[in-house]
Subunit: 131 residues, 4 copies
């Protein structure tokens, strides 16, 4: 299992007129967190793309438990528990600074080539993901 | 069942460096579509809020089938099939102008009052949602 | 002079916790409006890019006069008053449905080629922009 | 003069199909940077709002000199050079990790109360801004 913790700060741009983080913004936090998880094991999204691969999201979900608010520091706990095959699943848990669970969610990705065809993940990636 | 069709146009702001709509943007389209569905049956989100209710998302998901691209016209087909109880489920299907299924997803909402407490949906809403 | 009117609707995603449209969102409205202005005179941004040209923003500004709010219908009045040379200037005025001036702004663009080099605007564009 | 340096990282959400940071995103970086500048001198935006004041943007501008790209680390140099009167001017310079100037811009803010009326900045703020 690969896991990573990453912090984000909530700014005005993220918050709606209910005074809580707008629901799509958590998926932006997820993107930031998975980019950093991958970097932490030596995988750069830029390098993946330079090698002609892309890693689009094919499915995602999020459950909202407790609202995050402006100027809060959020902790994103990200993990990959399953070996990647044709798809790669990444899970996220976001807690606020009082350790209250704000959201949990997941994204599922596939590897495609420049022509948009689904392909096997490149070996260099799977090896790093296996740890 | 309540259903509604709404079109959105894809602009530059929506598209990432893969040349496809960034995955969170579909949830913004969903918000636009459900606001219009509610309006079509006489429910204004502003009126809901003026009456002291809010309708936050408590869960959402999306499956990405085919990428939408810059300058495309997308058709969002939105429907409510279940009677609202403590929660309200809204389903979405987005097709491009070639009628290709791009994404399908759902959002689940709850009604809360000004203090953030979960409450029963106001009668005026449930009556309109029952048609 | 070329001018065009385009409407946008304010959704939840656009509004911050002051209950007013977040300041960057107007620039997204500007992008939408200029894409439609260009389309109205037969210029498609996609076609420009297929021909190997891009039209990045090199400067922009906005003055905020009166806040736009959730669920308002906004009218964007867009115009090009100067003949394009190395740069193209586009001006915007946004009014709400009570005809109150919300913002006015401008964007200045340049034409670049695939290598990022500044180039003269293609003739097919300048002819259409001259009317 | 008050100044502050703040770093941001460019993620996928920020980048358009030209492969460069979308023009509105820099204004989000500006918001992040000014929030941190204010915090660095003991001013919390949340505290300002709890005291019944708001600090909306009344004008902003940005000049784009060199495109920032995905996964770059950007340095935002923020400063306040003029004493705040009815308005507060904040200036920004963003450089990439090669110290190339990407953008420079400014935002001008005013203080309003809960009713939206323009008011003098509260003393506690002006004292901190004067250093």
């Amino acid at each position: 299992m690969i896991e990573y913790q990453h912090n984000v700060h909530v700014y005005y741009r993220d918050v709606d007129q209910m005074g809580i983080v707008y629901y799509t913004r958590y998926f932006e936090y997820f993107e930031e967190a998975r980019t950093e998880l991958l970097r932490s094991i030596g995988i750069s999204v830029t390098d993946i793309e330079k090698n002609g691969y892309f890693l689009p999201v094919i499915s995602c979900s999020c459950k909202y438990k407790y609202p995050a608010k402006f100027d809060e520091e959020l902790n994103i706990f990200t993990k990959i528990t399953e070996e990647p095959r044709s798809t790669l699943k990444i899970e996220y848990i976001i807690r606020n600074s009082n350790d209250i669970l704000c959201v949990n969610g997941e994204t599922i990705h596939t590897f495609i080539n420049k022509n948009g065809k689904i392909v096997k993940p490149p070996k260099i990636i799977t090896e790093k993901l296996r740890g």
